[in-house]
């Protein structure tokens, strides 16, 4: 009843191409953006910002990055963690080489380095496909992780072997380092994530996004229609790695504050992959939903027993969280294998015809 597109006619191709042709969707997005930019900053406490929203946004961006490669271009990658690491180390080096530069610019620039490295590891994708390609990206994962440990130049020869985020100000506001307020970091992370998500929405509705999906759906047919497979795949690798790199840099600069190579381990790669698959391959909004499920759900679950007056040991809660998340993953896959994005689309479809289901 409320979600109807009847009566909304498009009078030009331009209107039909808009990101959200249906009015209700646009209103919904506006509401979400208002919540994100106004309501949450006004009401949330530090814990909510630093432990829920900032990681959620960082992961969402990384999931968008991986989704470009796996969901839109069909190339399975298990090296996301390492590509995020490249971004983090690049951003760290950039800020130490150019201490006066704007840290946000440096973070955005750091993705360029991970894009280059991602493209190099994407080269074998011309010959190797599917699960076999996973081994290439795993090689990238373990090799790059090794580099983070073995090339002391990357971490400025710190005795700790870790990168520590320096204090930086942007327009007089502390943006990174220990003194940066959660609110400032939240706005930066939110801004970058929304900005890149919008740019990607643009790319995906145009020629380049279509060429990625052509490769994904039927690579031979795409090739016979003039799509150069290597160029297209490498571009997906580069764009995906760029986004992951920026997410990785944000992860250390605006969330963790310091990172060891193990912060960018294979576990992170899997974490992001879970988000992408559960959220829905080939869906930008799915990336957000997947990130929310994998990151926010366990954090919140921890509070449930305490608030219900049940006193459980910390490790029991952890065990229970693992079991619940595992069971929910299987449950949701059975209910809707194409992820939350599809679930949402079905829900919208139901709303559209409600109250008459036929």
């Amino acid at each position: 009843m409320f979600y109807r597109e009847a009566g909304q006619f498009k009078t030009s191709y331009k209107a039909d191409q808009a990101l959200m042709p249906i009015l209700q969707d646009r209103v919904g997005l506006a509401v979400i953006l208002i919540i994100a930019f106004a309501v949450i900053p006004a009401t949330a406490n530090d814990f909510f910002l630093t432990s829920i929203m900032i990681p959620f946004l960082v992961f969402s961006l990384a999931a968008i990055g991986l989704n470009i490669l796996t969901g839109f271009c069909g190339q399975l990658s298990l090296g996301t963690g390492a590509f995020m690491g490249v971004g983090a180390y690049a951003a760290y080096k950039l800020t130490s080489i150019f201490p006066d530069a704007n840290v946000i610019v440096m973070v955005l620039l750091s993705g360029v380095f991970s894009a280059a490295i991602g493209a190099v590891f994407g080269l074998p994708s011309l010959r190797i496909k599917g699960l076999y390609l996973a081994v290439t990206t795993l090689a990238a994962q373990f090799f790059l992780e090794w580099c983070f440990i073995r090339i002391p130049w990357l971490y400025n020869y710190n005795a700790s072997g870790a990168i520590e985020v320096p204090h930086r100000e942007v327009f007089g506001i502390v943006a990174s380092g220990a003194e940066a307020t959660p609110l400032a970091r939240y706005f930066i992370v939110l801004g970058i994530t929304v900005f890149i998500a919008l740019l990607m929405a643009n790319v995906l509705r145009g020629r380049i996004g279509r060429s990625w999906m052509m490769i994904r759906d039927m690579d031979i047919a795409a090739e016979l229609m003039g799509i150069r497979p290597l160029r297209t795949k490498l571009m997906a690798f580069a764009v995906s790695s760029y986004i992951c790199g920026v997410a990785g840099a944000m992860m250390v600069f605006f969330w963790l504050n310091a990172a060891e190579p193990s912060s960018y381990s294979i576990r992170l790669s899997f974490q992001i992959l879970f988000m992408v698959i559960l959220g829905g391959l080939g869906s930008l909004s799915g990336a957000f939903m997947g990130a929310a499920f994998i990151w926010i759900l366990p954090v919140i679950l921890k509070f449930v027993p305490g608030l219900m007056g049940i006193d459980l040991a910390a490790e029991t809660i952890e065990h229970a969280t693992f079991m619940i998340v595992g069971a929910l993953i299987i449950f949701f896959l059975i209910v809707e294998p194409h992820g939350f994005a599809r679930l949402w689309a079905i829900a919208k479809q139901k709303l559209r015809v409600w109250p008459f289901p036929y």
Binding site: V135, F274, V325, L333
Partner: protein, 317 residues
């Protein structure tokens, strides 16, 4: 520099033949152990096309169950039998709860479901048995523990661990048993039929559900054997799960569906890794084993994108 890369390693191999033999032996043992993990993957992939990400945690889980039961006073052999039972229940449960509702879904969805299973088993295993690493009950199970040294030349020495020999023997027996099972029994033939073509197998009256439960059970048994062997080498802990990733390059080399491929792939990775680390690793500071296996697999792949034992792909449209 060139000397270090191209000549020195071979000089070393020649100068210390006993050590070279030892390296080969260690490579062999590591290869066998990788192959055992890979075998579990192959069984399930062959019958259902599922890349079972949970194989690693099944190894830990089987080992933990065995040791955990023993710690609670169950005699070793009874514990072994009970653990086999537990793996059977697990197989049945997985088939009922995970596989059956997800039949005919794309590969990546099934892969994801096994990742969900991994999460669940990690939480469940730690919940029941606790997170501390446990010692494998090697002696109680009647497995040999000592070592034999062979003297070669004047001061050459090759040490063979009995447990490693046992691992090799068990791996060979396991492969032989699986071979017989696949080729000589009714269920085995049905299983191969399923591997070739699900629909066709269904149409001649083979129960997919039954086959899947059996395959998961067989993979559980392989996991148990792997858990015992790895556990005896270090201990049974959740960190062992990571070692299971090594099965991936092995699988890539051997092909996802070939049992001999898993063995050969495991051995190539085992030998390649040890020789590479010991004779060339020092040039870049050592510790290159974490990625060397993947690079070896990658190099093979570039020349044979279908793996060593896969059939040559002719692209058709």
């Amino acid at each position: 520099m060139l000397y270090d890369i191209f000549i020195d390693p071979f000089v070393q191999m020649y100068d210390m033949p006993d050590f070279f033999l030892q390296v080969l032996w260690e490579g062999f043992v590591a290869g066998i152990l990788y192959a055992l993990i890979a075998l579990g993957f192959v069984l399930i992939f062959k019958a259902s096309g599922v890349f079972n990400f949970a194989q690693g945690i099944m190894v830990v889980f089987a080992g933990l169950t065995l040791v955990g039961l023993n710690e609670n006073g169950v005699p070793a052999y009874l514990a072994l039998i009970l653990t086999i039972g537990v793996m059977g229940v697990l197989a049945y449960g997985v088939e009922r709860v995970v596989m059956r509702p997800l039949v005919n879904q794309p590969d990546i969805i099934l892969l994801m479901a096994t990742i969900g299973l991994t999460y669940f088993l990690v939480g469940f295993g730690e919940f029941v048995f606790g997170g501390e690493p446990k010692q494998m009950i090697t002696e109680q199970l009647g497995l040999p523990t000592g070592s034999t040294a062979f003297e070669i030349g004047e001061r050459g020495l090759v040490i063979l661990q009995h447990i490693d020999i046992a691992a090799a023997v068990i791996a060979v027996l396991m492969v032989a048993a699986l071979g017989i099972f696949f080729n000589k029994t009714r269920i085995g033939r049905a299983l191969r039929a399923v591997a070739d073509d699900h629909q066709a197998a269904l149409s001649v009256g083979i129960s997919l559900n039954q086959i899947w439960a059996i395959v998961w059970f067989a993979a559980g048994l392989v996991a148990l054997a792997t858990g015992i062997m790895w556990g005896a080498r270090s201990d049974v802990s959740f960190a062992l799960e990571i070692v299971a990733f090594k099965a991936l390059p092995v699988l890539i080399l051997g092909g996802f569906t070939s049992i001999p491929g898993a063995i050969v792939g495991g051995l190539i990775i085992g030998f390649g890794e040890k020789i590479g680390e010991l004779y060339w690793g020092g040039l870049v500071g050592g510790g290159i084993e974490s990625w060397l296996a993947y690079i070896i697999a990658l190099v093979f792949l570039l020349f044979r994108p279908q793996g060593l034992f896969g059939e040559r792909i002719i692209e058709r449209i």
